[in-house]
Structure formats: structure tokens, C-alpha cells
């Protein structure tokens, strides 16, 4: 087990380096002059050159990358934004909780919906309730989060005025403004995912219900309640747990659509802004943070899965 974890951590470092290199390269394949952007419109060519020097932009590629790595690993410094000279560390660490609130809150909401609906559908296939659920799934998968978000904003936020349309409120003072601002984003974010999960849970539960060991449990005289919880769900949820870990990991990288529609300053929102402005340090900062999140969560999901399924042996 320890050997496995160490090996995975080493591999994580390799992955991480690969991600940073690729990001770096992509942005240097695009011929735009960020120094000019930073220096401002009125800057003279000398001033631009000076800025370029300060920002290390006149060094060869590999030197820039090495400088960046040095800053990152040794000084834990992601650099300063080309756009507003803010420390990228601050930007990223400020954006992360926003995205985390959205993703984790959304995940709780979508699982809270998907599990009961999925189980009900599996137990009553082709019933009216099941058919309604399947229509809901279809719309959830087909409707784009941007459209859902805008519709919700418009109807609930603008027409009815029940909830704010944009922005994010910190959790610090009192929880209510935070919740108010997050409700519509949570619903929008969860709508799509809950559709996928209802379908997945429905099919895994239906499959598990036909397993021989479920029949054995009934033959032992177990009440349906026990058959469902101890035998059916514990097995049916295994693949769901893996998917959940992966989906959360990826979403933490930035739930771009929802953040943009609702103006939540999370990682996804910053990613878009910094790409627009060609703000390389911020782009890299967001990418670094997001890939770290994915890599770490991936490892956690693998370990968790090995823990809950005794058939898995980590090699």
C-alpha cells in the first residue's frame, strides 16, 4: 500500500510537469506580445522592451520555463498577473473557495436528487414515475448549462426577484448571503450532472437487483429494506463512487459555464478572463492549481475505491 502511494505520488509529479510544459508551450506558440499589453497602450518600444525584460519575456523559452519552475517549487510563487500585477497566488487562492463552494454544494445537491430518483426508477421500471424521470434526464443532458443558468437567472432572479442574479458573497460574515448567491448556480450546475447520475444509478441498481447474491439474501429471509441497503446498494454504488470522484475532480478545475453566467469569480472564470487578456502567469496559475486538484483527487478516489471494494488489490 505504501509503495503504491509513493509510486503514485512520483507519477503525479511527472504528470504535473507535463501539464505545465504543455500549457507553457501552447501559449508561446501563439504570436502575441504580452509585454505590450502590460506596458499599456501609450508605451514606447523601449518601455515595452523594458517591461519584457522585467517579465523575463525576452529570455529563451526554456529559461522562462525553468525560472517559472524555480519560482513555483522553491518559492511557492506563481508569479504576478500581467494584467493587474496582483500575485497569482492570491488570485488562485481566492478563486478556489468559490469554485469549491459551487462544485461541492452542487455535488451534494445532485447526489441528493440522483440517488432517490435513480433507486425509485430502478425499482419501478417503466412506471409513470420512471418515465417522468427519464424525460427529466433527457432534458438535463440536452439543456446547456448556460441556457439553464440564464433561464433561472431571468425567471427567478429578474422576473420574480427572489434571488440575486450575479456575484458571490463570502462565507465569512453570515451564511445567508452566501447561500442566496449560490442557490441558482447550484441548481444549474447540478441539473446536468444529476441527469447523468440518475441514469447511471438506475442502471447499476437494476443490474444489481438481478444478481444471485441478492436472491441469496432474500432466501435467507432478509427484509427488503436490508436486501436493498446491505446487498444491493453497497454493490451498485461502487461504480457511482468512482465516477463521482472523477467528476468532482474535473469540475474543481473550473465549472466555467456556470461561473461565467452567474459572475462567480472562481477558477473557471479567471481562466477565461486570463486567456482573453493573455495573462500568462494567471493562466498557468489556474492550470497548475486545477491539475494539482485533479491529480490529488484521482489518487484519493483510487485509494477510496480500494478501501470499499475488497476485490481490488493495489499493485
Amino acid at each position: 500500500m505504501i509503495r503504491y502511494v509513493i509510486r503514485r505520488l512520483l507519477w503525479a509529479c511527472v504528470l504535473f510537469l507535463a501539464v505545465t510544459v504543455i500549457t507553457f508551450l501552447i501559449f508561446f506558440a501563439v504570436p502575441v506580445n504580452p509585454a505590450a499589453l502590460v506596458a499599456g497602450k501609450g508605451a514606447s518600444p523601449t518601455e515595452v522592451k523594458h517591461v519584457a525584460h522585467l517579465l523575463y519575456l525576452d529570455r529563451p523559452l526554456y529559461m522562462q520555463y525553468l525560472h517559472f519552475l524555480d519560482q513555483l517549487v522553491l518559492h511557492h510563487n506563481l508569479g504576478f498577473s500581467f494584467g493587474n500585477r496582483q500575485s497569482v497566488n492570491t488570485i488562485v487562492l481566492g478563486a478556489a473557495p468559490v469554485t469549491a463552494s459551487l462544485v461541492i454544494g452542487g455535488a451534494i445537491l445532485w447526489m441528493a436528487v440522483a440517488i432517490p430518483v435513480g433507486i425509485y426508477s430502478a425499482l419501478h421500471p417503466r412506471s409513470k414515475g420512471d418515465r417522468v424521470a427519464m424525460v427529466g434526464v433527457l432534458t438535463g443532458i440536452s439543456a446547456h448549462p448556460v441556457w439553464v443558468g440564464l433561464m433561472l437567472s431571468y425567471v427567478v432572479g429578474y422576473l420574480l426577484g427572489w434571488l440575486p442574479i450575479q456575484g458571490y458573497a463570502n462565507l465569512s460574515a453570515s451564511p445567508w448571503p452566501w447561500i442566496e448567491h449560490m442557490i441558482l448556480p447550484w441548481i444549474t450546475f447540478a441539473y446536468l450532472y444529476s441527469a447523468y447520475y440518475v441514469r447511471m444509478i438506475r442502471s447499476t441498481v437494476m443490474e444489481t437487483l438481478n444478481e444471485d447474491y441478492v436472491r441469496t439474501a432474500r432466501a435467507k429471509g432478509a427484509p427488503e429494506r436490508v436486501v436493498m441497503s446491505r446487498h444491493v446498494l453497497r454493490n451498485a454504488m461502487l461504480p457511482v463512487v468512482t465516477m463521482l470522484g472523477m467528476d468532482i475532480a474535473v469540475a474543481l478545475g473550473g465549472a466555467v459555464f456556470v461561473e461565467t453566467v452567474f459572475g462567480l469569480p472562481g477558477l473557471g472564470w479567471y481562466a477565461i478572463q486570463s486567456v482573453d487578456n493573455f495573462d500568462l502567469p494567471t493562466i498557468i496559475g489556474v492550470v497548475v492549481f486545477a491539475s494539482l486538484a485533479v491529480i490529488v483527487l484521482n489518487l484519493i478516489v483510487d485509494l477510496l475505491y480500494a478501501w470499499i471494494d475488497p476485490r481490488i488489490r493495489l499493485t
Partner: protein
């Protein structure tokens, strides 16, 4: 008074293509401490019969009629809660495929304890020691450590032993074994059958053994019920069925057994295949494959009747008793001659 008395059991499944008459009027009984073997081809309704007795058929689109008297109570009419108390406690069932019959994410100890704690009020500790005791009884080595292992850490034969342990852990009066050895290799099969016979002796439970293998029947049965297409073809004691069979289907079954001493020559299967249970043939269901079929066989279903007055050996065949017995003696004689 028999332990289990099943009368005119019928189980019909409603499907999109029509009603499947899986079991269509089967009656049998099991005495305390004895073994009844239910034999027949795949699809003849032997498993469904057992599932109906246990109430394990799917609730939707299933209609079960008849009586299944167990210790005076009709299992088919019991409310679900009452039936649940019987299952795993007074009547236990084991199934065909041991590889998939155990919950893969629970230790076998946990599953055995569950079997105990679902009935009665044993503590977890008591249930655990009972589990270890049963594992020893079925011949699992190092039971104290193995009890905390997961199913995937056992072989098929061991898993079936675990299933048997789980079935017998509450000392049931009746054990229903649905093709328990079909998925196992021949040597393991022999071990499991030997184990079941020993346990029957030690625990005193009656056994219903469902199988399509006449060899298994020969080793274990006191009584035999031969089923065909959802109905009983013949019923009687072990000696009656093997030495004095009185149904063309049973003759066909016995005749189709390969002989070890046979040198070359073809196997003698029963021509044709089992009929559809959606639209079964009228009258006797075996008539389309029966070399002795007569006009009456198409018109009337033969009743399951004694071969001679007062006999416990019953058969469902329109052949005249004398003619039938003569044919039986002839065929059995020929089979015995071949065997030498």
C-alpha cells in the same frame, strides 16, 4: 404427516408474448429427514417449483395457485412477513452458481452472521461462533481465520460449502438445493454430495434436491419426482424409478445415459426438444416425442395415478398398466444387459 405437502402447484408468468405456464399442476410431498430429488430437463419447471414454494418469484406478473403445506401452514398464503421468518430459518435454499451467490463486498463471516441474526436474538458474538462452528462442519480448513475472508478468496467448491453452511446454520427442517453441484467439477461434486448426506444425517433435515443429473439422484434420493414441461411425469421411490420406471420419458432419460463400457455406437437421446411453455401441446405434453403416443394422448392429459392399486409409485401415462409394465421390464432388462 409429511413435512412439506405440495398440491396442484401452478405458477404462471405473464409476459409480452403471453402466459408462460412454467409449473402447471405439480404435487409432491417430502417426509422429515428424507431426500426428494426433482429431475427433469432444463426448462421443465423444477427451479420455478422451488422458488414458488419459497415465495422467491418476482411479485409482478406472476400468478401462483395451489397449496404448499409446511408444518400445517400454507406457504403460498402466508403474508410476506411470516414467510420471511420461515425462509432461512425453517426452510433454506441453496442455488446453482456458488461463484455469484455470495455478496462480494462482505466477508463470509458477516454473511453467515447475518443468516443467524435475521432469525432469533443471538448476539453478534454468538452468531460469530455459530458461523465458525458451521464452517468447520462443512469442512473449511482454518475456519477461525477464514471466516474473515471475502468470497473471492475461496474456490467454487469452497463457496458452495459456505452456502451450505449458511443454509444449515439455523437448523432448518427442510433444505432445498437447486442444482447445487451443476457448476462444479465431478470430484468436487462428489465431495459436496457426500457432505450433504452427512449433514442430513447429523442435522436431520429433509432435502429437496433439484437436478438434471440422474447420477446425482442415484446417490442421494429416497423419493424421485420426474418433471416434464411443467408437469409431473412420474413419482415414486428411488428403486421404483430406477428399476421399475413406468413412463416413456423416464425410459428415455435412463436410456440416454452414456454407458462407461460402451464401445462406439451412438448415444440414444430422446428425439425432439421440450415444448414451448407458452403454447404447450394439448393433452399429454410429452406426446410429440413419445414413441408410444396414441390418439387419447392428444385429447386428454393423463392423470398422475398409481401404477397399481395402493402403490405409492405414480405415473402420468395413458398406456395400459400391463403393457406399460411389460415394456418397462423389457427396457430395464436391455439396459442391464448392456451394462455387463
Amino acid at each position: 404427516m409429511p413435512l412439506l405437502d405440495v398440491r396442484d402447484l401452478k405458477t404462471h408468468f405473464r409476459t409480452d408474448d403471453g402466459v408462460v405456464r412454467a409449473v402447471d399442476g405439480v404435487s409432491f410431498s417430502v417426509e422429515k429427514g428424507k431426500t426428494l430429488a426433482i429431475v427433469g430437463e432444463s426448462g421443465c419447471g423444477k427451479s420455478v417449483t422451488c422458488m414458488s414454494v419459497m415465495g422467491l418469484n418476482p411479485r409482478q406478473n406472476t400468478q401462483t395457485t395451489g397449496e404448499a403445506l409446511f408444518n400445517g401452514r400454507d406457504l403460498l398464503r402466508l403474508p410476506p412477513d411470516e414467510l420471511r421468518k420461515v425462509r432461512g430459518n425453517e426452510i433454506s435454499m441453496i442455488f446453482q452458481d456458488p461463484m455469484t451467490s455470495l455478496n462480494p463486498v462482505q466477508t463470509i463471516g458477516a454473511q453467515l452472521r447475518e443468516a443467524v441474526m435475521l432469525h432469533g436474538d443471538a448476539s453478534k458474538k454468538q452468531a460469530h461462533s455459530r458461523a465458525v462452528e458451521m464452517l468447520k462442519a462443512v469442512g473449511i480448513p482454518r475456519a477461525e481465520t477464514r471466516v474473515d475472508d471475502y468470497p473471492h478468496q475461496f474456490s467454487g467448491g469452497m463457496r458452495q460449502r459456505v452456502m451450505i453452511a449458511m443454509a444449515l446454520i439455523n437448523n432448518p427442517d427442510l433444505l432445498i438445493a437447486d442444482e447445487p453441484t451443476t457448476a462444479l467439477d465431478v470430484t468436487t461434486q462428489a465431495q459436496i454430495l457426500k457432505l450433504m448426506n452427512e449433514l442430513q444425517r447429523d442435522f436431520g433435515s429433509a432435502i429437496i434436491l433439484v437436478t438434471h443429473d440422474l447420477g446425482v439422484v442415484a446417490e442421494t434420493a429416497d423419493e424421485v419426482l420426474v418433471m416434464y414441461a411443467g408437469r409431473a411425469a412420474e413419482r415414486g421411490g428411488y428403486a421404483d424409478i430406477f428399476y421399475r420406471p413406468e413412463h416413456p420419458y423416464t425410459w428415455g432419460l435412463l436410456g440416454s445415459l452414456p454407458r462407461l463400457a460402451q464401445q462406439g455406437g451412438d448415444l440414444k437421446p430422446i428425439p425432439g426438444s421440450p415444448p414451448s411453455l407458452l403454447r404447450p401441446p394439448s393433452g399429454c405434453r410429452f406426446r410429440l416425442r413419445c414413441p408410444y403416443a396414441m390418439a387419447i394422448c392428444e385429447a386428454e392429459q393423463p392423470p398422475l395415478a398409481p401404477v397399481a392399486d395402493g402403490s405409492a409409485h405414480l405415473t402420468a401415462c395413458h398406456l395400459e398398466p400391463e403393457q406399460r409394465r411389460a415394456e418397462s421390464e423389457r427396457l430395464v432388462g436391455a439396459m442391464m444387459a448392456e451394462a455387463r
